[in-house]
């Protein structure tokens, strides 16, 4: 199962990467990321005057010898980076050839694997809620350490998708629930009639560094069905009649481009990174090339 999600050839290459945080870690858990907190590490940060009760082990005796005053040496505290991934598992993600959800899981697996190898905490929010694999989703809520990487990938691969998405609500709740703001990666097709603006806005407002990856299938980018069609929405069940011909392909492309452009502009305005990926895109191209060029990983 792990092999199908991420190929064995890819894993060593991912291990060499790490997630690049543009902000200092705010987590309270020790890790390998520099933070503003002062604590115990090898990196010297500052001095302060001794007050009663301080640990005598951190007194700078050389300074006391020269100045006869007691100073305490302060070190940078290294904290972990909380990586919060939002994975869209709605019904609309089950379409496409290759299936969009499979691709989205692979992307989430790759980013999560990179984070775990970098001793970051990975929290995956799979929405919408689904009763059948509630245990899996709970297990994915908080994963730490490299040793958990295989279990993390296995759980991702066992996920099932279905049900209508509520992007705004899912993202907003995920933002609120997070104890520390960190890196937020949202993987979705963003085809929610209710929109995505509030959800993404909530993440940005909470202080997350947001990376948005929009996954669309090749059929959505370039339809192959023509004629008199009755379209049935997979999530809402609404039926719509459409007469579609090849000469209208250009108009359809314009519609898709406008939709994508609107999302991209929204992200850029809020300092979030945006990536559009077809579900047929090779995974290594997205992760090792595009995300690397955009300095999401490095």
């Amino acid at each position: 199962m792990v092999d199908t999600l991420l190929s064995p050839e890819l894993l060593p290459r991912l291990e060499q990467l790490e997630l690049l945080a543009r902000r200092r870690a705010k987590s309270s858990v020790k890790g390998e990321r520099s933070s503003r907190a002062r604590g115990h590490s090898v990196e010297f940060a500052d001095y302060r005057s001794y007050v009663a009760g301080d640990d005598l082990r951190y007194l700078d005796w050389n300074l006391y010898g020269r100045l006869e005053r007691l100073f305490l040496k302060l070190y940078e505290e290294e904290r972990e980076l909380p990586v919060r991934m939002f994975l869209d598992a709605s019904e609309s993600m089950t379409f496409g050839e290759p299936v969009k959800f499979d691709f989205a899981r692979q992307v989430a697996g790759a980013i999560g694997y990179i984070a775990l190898c970098g001793f970051d905490c990975v929290s995956t929010v799979v929405f919408p809620e689904h009763e059948s694999d509630a245990a899996l989703r709970t297990a994915l809520r908080m994963v730490r350490g490299r040793k958990s990487a295989l279990a993390f990938l296995r759980n991702l691969a066992a996920l099932t998708a279905g049900g209508p998405a509520n992007l705004n609500e899912s993202l907003r709740r995920g933002a609120v629930e997070a104890r520390h703001a960190g890196l937020a990666v949202v993987i979705s097709d963003f085809l929610d009639p209710a929109g995505y603006e509030q959800g993404l806005g909530a993440l940005v407002g909470r202080g997350f560094q947001v990376d948005v990856i929009q996954v669309l299938s090749p059929e959505e980018l370039e339809p192959t069905a023509f004629g008199d069609l009755r379209l049935v929405d997979s999530e809402t069940g609404a039926q719509q009649e459409v007469t579609f011909g090849r000469h209208r392909l250009a108009a359809y492309r314009q519609t898709v481009e406008a939709y994508v452009r609107k999302l991209r502009d929204f992200c850029r305005a809020r300092g979030a990174s945006f990536f559009l990926a077809s579900s047929a895109t090779p995974l290594d191209e997205l992760v090792l090339k595009r995300l690397r060029q955009a300095e999401v990983v490095g």
Binding site: F95, D189, P193, D233, S234, E235, T243, T255
Partner: protein, 611 residues
């Protein structure tokens, strides 16, 4: 407005059906998609929940309903009860003579004329009527007065050009009673004007529109031909031909003579503009056969470039002279070449052993059954003698008749003549004020020449005209020469041949090889075949053996293909060629075609969206 066929409104029941078809939902392919979010732009135009909302802006439906309404109205045949003048009567005369086969128009003058006649049919109003006459040697009424354009087109389409001369007078005489009392009647004549006989026709203010076809005359043709015994050597034949150049250029070509398909002689012919060149071939002939004269010249009318001439071998003519004295008549007979003369005082067996019997002022014991020259024979049952005329004065003679060729009656005095009435079987050749003096004609199949005075009691035997007349008479009475003259027929004239009485049908082989069987009524003594519109050799088999007939054009007026821009009728009237084209061309076909194109475009446009 009223309707001629109001029952057609029953078709209005189709209107709700058309609307119903539009209300029915189109069968659509159901397709599950991730989200309809990206399709919103394409949903709007076909969104229709309520049926009548769907119909509101459907121009295709509106067009179809409009079309259906128009069709129903047309089927109901609406009309206004107004007052209108009666339609015109148009008589179309289509010249189908030989000259109309000229190819100076493309593809020919006749086809051009027919095209213009078609245009005229297209321009007819609903109330107009048209008659189609096809004028060649005879005039055929191809279509009696009708407004039915399809019938008129069929009639025009069935017309074919012939190899015959034109006789437009006959066509105009047929057209005349149709149009004479109608002011709105028109005669449309489509011709090249190559018609020699129009001066005989009194115009009488007819409304003739002359549509001239033909652009130029580039034609050389044989206008006369004959095969005769050579005057100096009766065993040889002399073939005479006249070649006429109708064009305004110098023309040269080859004139070829064949006998029964075997090449005999060719001669180079050079002709100046509008020049006629006589040609004589002298040929030895061993058997009966057909001479073919063929003119090899590049011109635009082929039909007059070939002539067939029947030529029978000369046979000695056996003549029985029944006379008491002989005299000048016997001497005149003895100088006729190729003649075997027997002189007797009476006739035995009705003269069955002889070709010609000459009765010279005697009353024979039996009247001859063969061709006869009778001099002052009375009483007879041929003529009814009513008295005698002393010293009759010759006032007229018919020198166009073959009997009187080169014969002159000037200074001929007659002592006494029988006074007779001209019988129905004969024509008077020489006439005095009170009585005909010489009669000639055919009694059944017997040719008779009757002279009503004693030649010995006149000065005629002392004139050179007497032996010439006797030679002409023997030639005319000779059954062989009669057969030979019957074998030469002008295109359009009937073929005639005597019947023995036992035949029940005759088989005619046309020049193109097709055979036609014609039934013969019992008791019919002569077989006639009139369908001689094509020139060539016609073979007729009536059971007595096959005889052949050569049908030729031989008409200088047809060979002269110069288009005439003016036709003269009678003495004073004339018709100028019109350049006006018929107006009032109907547009409904074009409009209907445009409507069809629009509908096809609509259909294509509609389906383009789903292609």
């Amino acid at each position: 407005m009223s309707f001629l066929a109001p029952t057609a409104f029953a078709f209005a029941a189709a209107i709700p059906i058309v609307i119903l078809f539009y209300l029915l939902k189109r069968r659509r392919v159901v397709k599950l998609v991730p989200s309809t979010l990206l399709w919103q732009r394409f949903l709007a135009e076909t969104q229709a929940s309520a049926p009548f909302q769907k119909l509101r802006k459907n121009w295709l439906l509106v067009l179809q309903l409009l079309l259906l309404t128009l069709v129903i109205l047309a089927l109901a045949r609406p009309f206004f009860a107004g007052k209108t003048a009666a339609g015109r009567l148009i008589v179309v005369i289509l010249d189908a003579s030989a000259s109309m086969q000229s190819t100076d128009e493309s593809p020919s003058r006749f086809e051009r004329a027919r095209r213009e006649a078609f245009d005229l049919v297209n321009s007819l109003h609903e109330t107009d009527q048209m008659v189609v006459l096809l004028a060649s040697a005879h005039t055929e009424v191809r279509q009696s007065p009708t407004s039915n354009k399809a019938a008129l087109r069929r009639a025009l389409q069935s017309c074919q050009p012939t190899d015959t001369p034109t006789r437009l007078t006959e066509a105009l005489k047929i057209a005349h009673p149709l149009v004479k009392d109608r002011r709105d009647a028109e005669i449309h004549l489509y011709s090249d004007g190559a018609a020699p006989d129009l001066t005989e026709f009194e115009f009488e203010g007819l409304n003739v529109v002359y549509h001239q076809v033909g652009r130029r005359a580039l034609n050389v043709g044989i206008v006369s031909a004959e095969a005769r015994a050579h005057p100096e050597d009766p065993r040889r034949r002399a073939v005479f031909a006249s070649v006429f150049n109708a064009s305004s250029n110098n023309v040269s070509g080859e004139l070829e003579l064949r006998f029964d398909g075997t090449f005999v002689e060719t001669r180079h012919v050079e002709l100046g503009p509008r020049e006629t060149s006589p040609q004589v071939f002298t040929v030895s002939q061993e058997k009966d056969g057909v001479f073919t004269l063929r003119l090899d010249v590049a011109d635009e009318l082929l039909v007059d470039n070939e002539v067939q001439l029947a030529s029978l071998m000369p046979k000695p003519v056996n003549v029985l002279l029944v006379t008491r004295s002989g005299g000048y008549l016997e001497r005149a007979l003895r100088v006729v070449p190729n003649l075997s003369l027997t002189v007797a005082e009476d006739i035995a067996d009705g003269g069955a052993n002889y070709d010609v019997v000459v009765i010279d002022d005697v009353l024979p014991s039996s009247w001859p059954a063969v061709n006869t020259l009778a001099v002052r024979s009375a009483p007879t049952n041929w003529v009814q003698v009513t008295g005698r005329v002393e010293a009759p004065l010759i006032v007229d003679w018919k020198n166009t008749h073959p009997l009187l060729r080169f014969v002159n009656f000037d200074e001929v005095q007659i002592a006494e003549a029988l006074k007779v009435r001209t019988p129905t079987w004969a024509v008077p050749l020489v006439e005095a004020p009170d009585t005909p003096l010489v009669l000639a004609g055919e009694l059944g199949r017997q040719r008779v020449v009757w002279i009503g005075f004693d030649t010995m009691q006149s000065t005629w035997p002392l004139r050179i005209s007497f032996p010439i007349f006797v030679a002409n008479a023997i030639d005319w009475l000779n059954p062989a020469s009669a057969r030979a003259s019957q074998a030469m027929v002008r295109a359009g004239d009937p073929i005639r041949t005597p019947l023995s009485g036992s035949a029940t049908n005759a088989v005619v082989q046309l020049p193109d090889g097709t055979k036609r069987t014609v039934p013969i009524d019992p008791g019919q003594r002569e077989f006639a075949f009139a369908d001689t519109a094509r020139q060539g050799v016609y073979k007729v088999d009536t059971g007595d053996g096959e005889s052949w007939f050569c049908v030729n054009l031989l008409d200088p007026a047809e060979t002269d293909t110069t288009p005439k821009s003016e036709l003269r009728f009678g003495r004073y009237a004339r018709a100028l060629a019109t350049t006006l084209k018929p107006a009032n061309l109907e547009l409904w076909r074009r409009l209907a075609a445009a409507a069809l194109a629009v509908m096809m475009f609509e259909w294509w446009f509609y389906h383009r969206r789903t292609a």
